[in-house]
């Protein structure tokens, strides 16, 4: 018999490894409790970390689910290239569902707001993908530190057949026990990295040496000043608007969403260590760079109730 000869202090788990263990447990629980899960993959850092965690949960076997990208058509080209390279490298299945297709069919409409945002148009596209592939569980990389409405969302977040979230009617979640029972047509959104902060994500990327798109590192880019933020410009419909002056600046992205609603920050951070230092000193939250959340105080809660992540 080989009894533990090492002192108890040897069996210490750092907070990153404790968070990793929790996420792996959640992913395996979903694989076991649901028939048709999928992992939402955008090419952003949180979804890249989700893929890294899935590798830990299921390798050397393949993932028991495909990756799903809701393609808004407003992505950074760099993020799409990265997505395709990663999928090829890990040899997993990727399903791409396009917002444009839904708009062409008249099932989704462009937002008439001040920005050409496709945030709202993502919702019917996602729900359409759920119906078409009959997904019953979708992994998302959302974190509770991102936004107030998310601070109260469960790790297993139930949605009715319209994809809606009812914040007042959430199932209690105790210990590490997750109740995935659902009716036909219902689905859940699962957030394995709920308890991670932006800092944890960056530290984990550094610890595990996870590759991320160059967008996150300092680079030269054409931007315009819009609503007090540096907004990237590119080909139509992302060109400068009347009166906007295009400036080439040294910037990076803290968060990568659609080109139409993600602002860049001035930054010389060229390495992960630099980024971690910058995050530690940051005085604005990550979602502050997302213009989509500023429309109203409850913007995120409203979008989530409609079926957004």
């Amino acid at each position: 018999m080989t009894q533990a000869a090492e002192p108890i202090s040897h069996y210490r788990l750092t907070h990153l490894k404790a968070l990793e263990a929790e996420a792996i447990h959640i992913m395996r629980e979903v694989a076991a409790q649901f028939e048709r899960p999928a992992l939402m993959f955008s090419g952003g850092k949180d979804s890249i970390v989700m893929v890294a965690l899935a590798l830990k949960a299921f390798r050397p076997a393949k993932f028991p689910f495909p990756l799903l990208h809701i393609d808004t058509g407003h992505n950074f080209p760099e993020a799409l290239d990265f997505r395709d390279q990663l999928v090829e490298k890990i040899g997993e299945r990727l399903i791409i569902h396009k917002v444009q297709d839904l708009i062409d069919k008249g099932m989704a409409t462009e937002d008439p707001g001040p920005f050409p945002s496709r945030n709202r148009a993502q919702i019917p596209t996602l729900i359409n993908a759920i119906e078409e592939y009959r997904f019953d569980a979708l992994f998302g990389g959302a974190r509770r530190d991102e936004e107030k409405a998310r601070a109260k969302e469960r790790i297993f977040s139930f949605r009715d057949e319209f994809g809606q979230w009812d914040p007042k009617n959430q199932r209690p979640e105790l210990w590490n026990l997750y109740n995935g029972r659902h009716r036909m047509g219902e689905n859940i959104r699962v957030f394995p990295i709920s308890n991670w902060t932006e800092m944890d994500v960056w530290q984990y990327i550094m610890l595990e040496q996870i590759e991320i798109p160059d967008l996150y590192f300092s680079h030269k880019r054409d931007v315009v000043k819009r609503m007090g933020q540096w907004v990237p410009v590119g080909e139509a419909p992302f060109g400068p608007r009347d009166g906007e002056e295009v400036i080439n600046r040294t910037v990076r992205f803290r968060t990568v969403g659609d080109m139409s609603c993600t602002a860049a920050t001035d930054s010389p951070a060229a390495t992960l260590e630099d980024i971690v230092g910058e995050v530690a000193a940051a005085r604005a939250s990550e979602r502050g760079a997302r213009m989509d959340d500023k429309n109203s105080e409850a913007a995120m809660e409203d979008r989530k109730k409609e079926g957004y992540f």
Partner: protein
């Protein structure tokens, strides 16, 4: 509702750039522990003020979040910035000025990362507190120094004890409103100790403080030089939590079988799961339950990367020397150290839904990675969580009520008493019609 002194203001907080030595070095950050703690209380205790201060002083509140709370305060007609708006996440909560649900919040110091389960304090939210308590290493109970130990304090202490949170910190708050009086503090401490003697709480720390002024929250108080103990943050950073885990009794509920369909890993068959307690090492003899088949651990890996041992709460894959039939819901343990096994189980249950628990009704339960059906055979008593009186005439349990039940399950469960292991000793009860989680149960043992 909130009194004037309960409304924290940003202006009263110190310069966030000049505190707590928040210089993270990369190495230090990679060597931090995780501490999950629970705060219970209502607006009147100054709980929001305390959390606001911990978040603010640790730079975990960002400028745009402050701005959003500021503009919301103006919109509500508040005279000052209301830091509770930072923590009340749902529209209904902001509109009604109440906290409905458990909110999880995060902050870190160079020593530890903290997860706060911020729970509402009133009796109608007992189920929310129980939820937050289930994963906490430590509970913070706030007492208003002007009012001393009240019914709510007793209730929160009982739940802390019932859920077996290993560490309790009693924050005697608003000391500024009692002139920093030592006698007032000691009277409250003595009162608390007297009634807490009835509970099984091993580690209790008392701290006199003022969340509003910051005394003894982050820094030691100059106003209370008679207090020799640590500040709250110092205690949170240093309380010894490594010993909270059971490292003696190896339990590994099998969650998922990792089986590659490829030639390269043709022989790989890994049992994926999270170690509930104890240590497993490569070469250890193990027994699989319920089959009773024995084998040895061939390898332990995470994502294909091998390691020598596995300990709680690691999620790993374990391969065995022999090809024995093991699937989800089974448990690996040691031949000379097995959990209890049985179909007739007594447990304390907290009821979590509007529809009362009915004796004789069938429910589904989830226990570790196992699922079974059960029938509630008996309700022994309902516990009044304020008087601790046991009502043996009770016939059902309503929302937020707690009682001792006997169940019979459709198949044997492999369990330990909750007091020994929170993971193998707990289960949830699921209503088969609504699919809702309706009860949280802590196993006492086999029905006698």
């Amino acid at each position: 509702m909130s009194t004037d002194t309960d409304t924290p203001t940003a202006a009263r907080h110190p310069d966030p750039n000049a505190n707590m030595g928040m210089e993270f070095s990369t190495d230090a950050y990679l060597d931090m522990d995780l501490l999950r703690f629970l705060t219970c209380g209502s607006v009147d205790d100054g709980k929001s003020t305390l959390i606001g201060r911990l978040l603010y002083d640790s730079k975990s509140i960002f400028e745009d979040q402050l701005e959003a709370a500021e503009s919301a305060s103006v919109g509500r007609g508040d005279e000052r910035m209301n830091l509770a708006l930072l923590t009340d996440g749902l529209r209904a909560e902001r509109e009604q000025g109440i906290t409905i649900d458990v909110a999880y919040r995060y902050f870190a110091t160079p020593k530890r990362k903290f997860i706060i389960a911020d729970c509402p304090g009133h009796v109608q939210y007992t189920r929310n507190m129980v939820t937050g308590a289930s994963t906490a290493n430590l509970a913070l109970i706030l007492i208003d120094a002007r009012h001393g130990v009240i019914e709510q304090t007793r209730r929160h202490s009982f739940i802390t004890s019932l859920l077996r949170i290993p560490h309790l910190v009693v924050c005697v708050n608003k000391m500024d409103l009692v002139d920093w009086d030592k006698d007032t503090y000691e009277k409250i401490r003595d009162d608390f100790e007297e009634f807490a003697a009835r509970f099984e709480i091993n580690d209790i720390t008392f701290i006199p403080m003022s969340a509003l002024t910051g005394d003894n929250v982050v820094n030691r108080s100059a106003n209370m030089d008679w207090y020799q103990g640590p500040s709250l943050l110092h205690h949170l950073e240093n309380v010894h939590i490594a010993g909270d885990r059971d490292m003696i009794d190896p339990r590994f509920p099998v969650q998922w079988v990792v089986r590659p369909q490829s030639d390269e890993f043709h022989d790989y068959r890994g049992y994926g799961g999270q170690v509930a307690s104890g240590v497993f090492q490569k070469g250890d003899e193990v027994v699989a339950l319920p089959s009773g088949m024995e084998s040895k651990i061939k390898s332990i890996d995470i994502g294909g990367k091998e390691q020598q041992s596995a300990f709680p709460p690691q999620s790993v894959s374990i391969q065995l020397e022999d090809d024995i039939d093991i699937s989800r819901g089974d448990m690996l343990c040691r031949p000379n150290n097995k959990p209890q096994s049985g179909q007739d189980i007594d447990a304390m249950v907290v009821w979590m839904t509007d529809q009362p628990m009915v004796v004789g009704k069938k429910y589904t339960i989830r226990h570790t990675s196992n699922e079974a059906r059960c029938i509630v055979k008996e309700l022994h008593y309902r516990m009044d969580i304020e008087s601790l009186h046991r009502d043996e005439s009770a016939e059902n349990l309503s929302l937020n009520e707690i009682g001792r039940i006997s169940i019979r399950t459709t198949k044997p469960l492999f369990f330990d008493p909750y007091r020994q292991c929170r993971i193998t000793g707990s289960f949830i009860i699921v209503d088969e019609q609504t699919n809702n989680t309706v009860g949280a149960a802590m196993i006492i043992g086999e029905t006698k």
